[in-house]
């Protein structure tokens, strides 16, 4: 298992190889990418800002929980920080497993947990020159693992 914040493009093929193993029958990957539109506004790019030491800790914690829940150590999560252009991958989650169902379930569970609790914020840069922090959850409703 390996989880990290990264400042450079994420190599999907390398992550796929990393979770590969001879007793795996399945690898599921989820790739989050920068969209050109959000809630009707034309987006130019997104700046990802993290509370780095806590984000690293939460990513590692999510991988540990996923490992216990889905029964595999073949888990890698990389999340980018800094400015990303349209189409670039902001996060890649790779889960290898002997069987396909827990591999697919694992990738899905990890992205949902990541979005719920990892302290990362997006500053959207709009085509019209403005910028705004994206509020993923209703203010004050984020519950995390407290």
């Amino acid at each position: 298992m390996r989880t990290t914040l990264v400042g450079r493009p994420i190599d999907v093929a390398a992550l796929t190889r990393e979770v590969g193993a001879e007793d795996n029958g399945a690898i599921s990957l989820f790739v989050g990418t920068v969209r050109n539109v959000n809630e009707g506004r034309a987006v130019d790019g997104i700046e990802y800002n993290a509370y780095a030491p806590m984000a690293e800790r939460e990513l590692a914690q999510i991988a540990e929980e996923a490992s216990a829940r889905f029964g595999t150590r073949h888990i890698v999560i990389e999340h980018r920080t800094g400015y990303l252009a349209l189409g670039e991958a902001s996060v890649v989650i790779a889960v290898g497993h002997p069987r396909r169902a827990p591999s697919l379930d694992g990738a899905r569970w990890i992205i949902e947990e990541l979005k719920r609790r990892v302290p990362i914020w997006k500053l959207e840069h709009y085509v019209d020159g403005t910028r705004e922090w994206v509020a993923q959850l209703p203010t004050g409703e984020a519950t995390a693992d407290a």
Partner: protein, 80 residues
């Protein structure tokens, strides 16, 4: 005791700073720190029950804090 609280994203923008200093009594809790931040930096758009991290973990309002703890106010997260 004097504590520093880290700010991020919209909170940091509103405060015009990446941290805010507050003075709270010894034995203060996370809730006391939040109240002190509200008083010290009213521009920060804190919800009724803001998320607070103590030493990189989400903390309950009842948790006691001490000098040396790393405190942070966590705006609604938006990773992925």
């Amino acid at each position: 005791m004097t504590l520093e609280v880290l700010l991020f994203a919209s909170y940091a923008d509103a405060a015009g700073a990446s941290r805010v200093q507050v003075v709270v009594p010894d034995g203060a809790t996370v809730a006391d720190v939040v109240a002190a931040v509200r008083a010290a930096a009213p521009a920060i758009p804190l919800p009724k029950r803001p998320l607070v991290a103590v030493n990189h973990r989400y903390a309950t309002p009842e948790l006691a804090v001490a000098v040396g703890d790393e405190l942070a106010l966590i705006p609604p997260v938006a990773g992925g």
